[in-house]
Every structure is written in C-alpha cells, then in structure tokens.
C-alpha cells in the first residue's frame, strides 16, 4: 500500500511536468467551454421557441439539469475516449522504454503496487479533468437553481467512466514499450467499449439466430458504457451501474498485472 502511493505520487508529479498533460488539459478545457456555451445557447433558443409557440406545458418542464447539464456532461465523456489514451499511454510503457522497469521489478514490492500506483495516478489526473468540467455547471448555480443531487450524480458518472478508462489505459500501456502503440491500442479498446458495442450487438445478433434478448446479446450490451452513464446522468445511482465500473476496472487491472508479470518469463 505504501509502495502503491509512492509510485502513484511520483507518476502524478511526472505527469504534471510533461507537455502531454498540459496539451490534454488545455484541449479538454477548450472543448468543455465550447460545449457548455453551445448547450447554453441551445437551451436559450429552445426556451424562446417554446415561448413563441405558446407551448407552456413544455416550457414548464424545461430545467437546467435535463436540458443543459445532462447533455453537456454526456458529450464530455465521449471526449474522454479520445483524450485519455494520450495521458495513459506512457504509464507503464515509458518504464519499459526508460529501463526503470528494472528498478521497479527488483525493488521489494509486488506487481500490484506498480499496477495500482499507475492506476491511482491516472485516477488523480482524471479527477482534475472532472473538476474542470464541474466548473461550468457550478456557474449555473450562481444564476439559477439546478438540482444539486442530479448535477453531482452526473459529475460522478463522468469521474467513474474516466477512472474505468484509466484502467483500460494502464492495460494498453503495459503490453508494449512503444507509447504510440499503447495510444492506438487504448483508443481502439475505448472506442469499442464506449461507442461500438451496441452496434456490434445489433449487427451480429440480427444476422444470427440469436435475438437481441439472448443472453449473449445482453451480456455484450451490459459491457457497453453508454447505458450505465445515461442512468447516472439522469440522477439514478444504481448498484448494478456502480458494479459495472468496479468490475471493468478490476478486469483491466488484473489483465495489466498478468501482462507485466508474464513479460518477465519470456
């Protein structure tokens, strides 16, 4: 545990002196600002439209959470898919390329210390990313009255998705010493898990005899991130969704540990 923290804090410090971290954080802030502004303008236009058409019942239903914060955070987690691989690509791969892997593996610590240390460092980084996103809904509290619970649940979903994706990134980074390969591999994995699984279910299940309600289809659909995030964005915190984040992080961390360990036996 102590070693885990030692590795995590060293990694975090190194991350924050690397140009990659600042490029990612800058892009992330710019994208978040742009999306938030777009959501804000969209919200306003919708309001004006509803007023013009005298759709008072719909106007009454409009609120900052459902029409502004939810779509805003919902689009930010998709951006995580593309930016996060740049942050995680070096986590383990750079240790191999630097030769520092030899230091870590000859020190009195377990491979779990390395894997969890890297994971924690990545989690710390995405916490900063989530904090940047949280700044924008926080502005709304100055001028309006969004629901606190729903807003926090949305931010929590963003944080949990990002942390889960860090675990995927640790795995992508541990299979190679080449950071570019780690980047591409993580990106592909994330795009599949985050975006493509529902389509894969549709395509393959339609062609085969299995229906969309078959056990396999349901398992694969469960593996996709989308539905779990959507429920949390709506303010529903369900144990099965939390379990999704815990289980998928666990699986990828276990894979990383196995990969790092087995590399020594070759």
């Amino acid at each position: 545990m102590r070693h885990t923290l030692t590795i995590a804090s060293r990694e975090l410090r190194s991350l924050f002196v690397s140009p990659v971290a600042y490029v990612v954080l800058t892009l992330w802030s710019v994208i978040a600002g742009t999306f938030f502004l777009a959501s804000l303008i969209g919200f306003q236009e919708q309001q004006i439209q509803l007023q013009q058409y005298q759709m008072l019942d719909r106007l009454e239903q409009m609120n900052l959470n459902d029409q502004l914060i939810e779509p805003f955070i919902g689009s930010m987690w998709v951006i995580v898919l593309f930016l996060l691989p740049a942050v995680t690509m070096g986590l383990v791969a750079s240790e191999k390329a630097n030769g520092t892997e030899e230091l870590l593996l000859t020190s009195p610590l377990s491979i779990w210390d390395i894997v969890l240390g890297k994971f924690l460092a990545g989690a710390g980084f995405v916490a900063v990313m989530t904090a940047i996103v949280a700044f924008f809904p926080a502005l709304l509290f100055l001028y309006g009255e969004p629901e606190v619970g729903k807003t926090l649940s949305g931010l929590l979903s963003l944080l949990l998705v990002s942390i889960t994706y860090v675990a995927v990134g640790v795995f992508g980074s541990s299979v190679t010493r080449n950071q570019l390969i780690a980047f591409v591999l993580t990106l592909v994995l994330l795009v599949v898990i985050g975006m493509m699984l529902p389509f894969i279910v549709d395509i393959t299940m339609a062609g085969s005899g299995l229906g969309r309600d078959s056990a396999i289809a349901q398992v694969v659909a469960w593996m996709a991130t989308g539905s779990h995030v959507d429920r949390m964005l709506q303010g529903l915190i369900d144990t099965s969704d939390l379990a999704y984040f815990v289980v998928s992080s666990g699986v990828f961390l276990l894979l990383s540990k196995t990969v790092i360990e087995s590399a020594r036996w070759r």
Binding site: S14, E101, E102, T106, S107, L109, R264
Partner: protein, 265 residues
Amino acid sequence: MSEAAKPTAAGRPPAIEVEKLSKRYGEHEAVCDLSFVVQPGEVVGFLGPNGAGKTTTMRMLTGFLPPSDGTARIAGHDIFADALAARRAIGYLPETPPLYPEMTPAAYVDFVAKLKDVPRAGRREAVDRALERCGLSEVRGREIRQLSKGYRQRVGLAQAIVHEPQVLVLDEPTVGLDPIQIREIRALMAELATSGGQTVILSTHILAEVEAICQRVVLIARGRKVLDQPLAELVAGGSTLEEVFTRVLTRDEAESAAAVGGPSA
C-alpha cells in the same frame, strides 16, 4: 576452483550463493549450470566476452528475470522463496541506469529510498549521504536529463547504495564513459568497497578495472563458468590478467569446438 565455496567460519551466510543457475531462451542457453559463492565484504569481478551471459546472470540475481533452473541466495535469502528480503539486501545498477529524466537526483534517490523500505526517520539522511558519497551534492536540484553521462551514472550508483544494501550488483558501471569519468567512478567503487564493507559483484570487460578493485575473478563464457580464482593467484605467475584470460578463453573455445565436433571457430 571451488575454493571459495566453503561455508563462512563466522556463521554469517555468504553474501551471494549461486546454485546451478540456468537460463534458457527456447533452444538457446544464455546461462548454464552456473554456481559460485561470494563471501561478505568481497569484491568480485564478473567477467566474460560480450554475450557470455553476464547481464542475464545479474538480472536473475536481482530478481528481474526468473531462472529456468537452479536458484540463488542473497545474504541467506532465496531469490524465489524469500524474494522481498533478497531484493531488500541488493543494490543494483543495471547496464543502463534506470533514471526518470524529468526528476532531480534528490527527488529520484528519495523515491528509490521509499521503494527500498528505508525507514522514514532516517530517509533524508540516507538520501543526503548517498548523494554526497557519489559526488552529487552540487547537482542534486538539477533535472537528470540535463546531467552528463558520467553524472547520470553516479545517480545510478547513488540509487543502488541509498538503502545501504549488503550486496551491490553493478552491471558494466563504466561503459560509455570518458577516461576521467571512468577513473572517478572506479575510485567511487573502490571507496564503497573499502569504507562501506559492502560485497560487490561487478561485471565488466575492462581488465584494468578488475585489477584496480577486485579481489577475485569469476570468468564465464557461453553461459558457463570457466574460471573462479583470487586475483592474486591469477597474476602470481608473472603473466598479466590479459594473458591469463586469453589463454583460458581460447582453450575453452577449442574445447567446445571439439565437443561439438565442428571446425574450430
């Protein structure tokens, strides 16, 4: 040949005990049936031509590579059964020093001290002492990437000694350095060996280095031990170390060629 394999009189376990260590990569045997013993306080030169298996052996001793066969004990701790204690007893400088270029020597050595379980109370002193012994006090706050190769090698050494290990494993510590840097590192190693009372196993193919600081020599070729003798005995006959080694290695090569039945290389 196996003169050093006797148990210690004092009852202290040998610093390094290598027992029939082997490493195979598929068909290729990198290290084969290697056994030797190093007593506490001894400075041993681990020699051999390139590709003889020096680095592989050192990586197995330090727990980086699992051996295919055999085992080794570091200060009495088995590298498998008692891996953490064995690793704690070792300071290791790999062929390329394992450095994080964006860190300062002070932060880096402190990081390694934490990894090696140096108790919190004495950690600052341990780090300062390691930096000072390696002549790094002036550059302790600079980024490692800005340091010259000689200084980086020193940071690597500081990292290896910060937890005051019983055994120091140094893999070609002077390779790629200029003559002045070589002299400095060599003096540093000699100082560590004499004042620290540390056991040192040092791989190199610079014979002058061996003559300067080693008491004993283990020579390997093609993964097998071909010579294990105190330095004084080796040069007793008046021949130089170079002559002795050339003779031993040529004989070994001829023998292996004869054993295979092929033409001698």
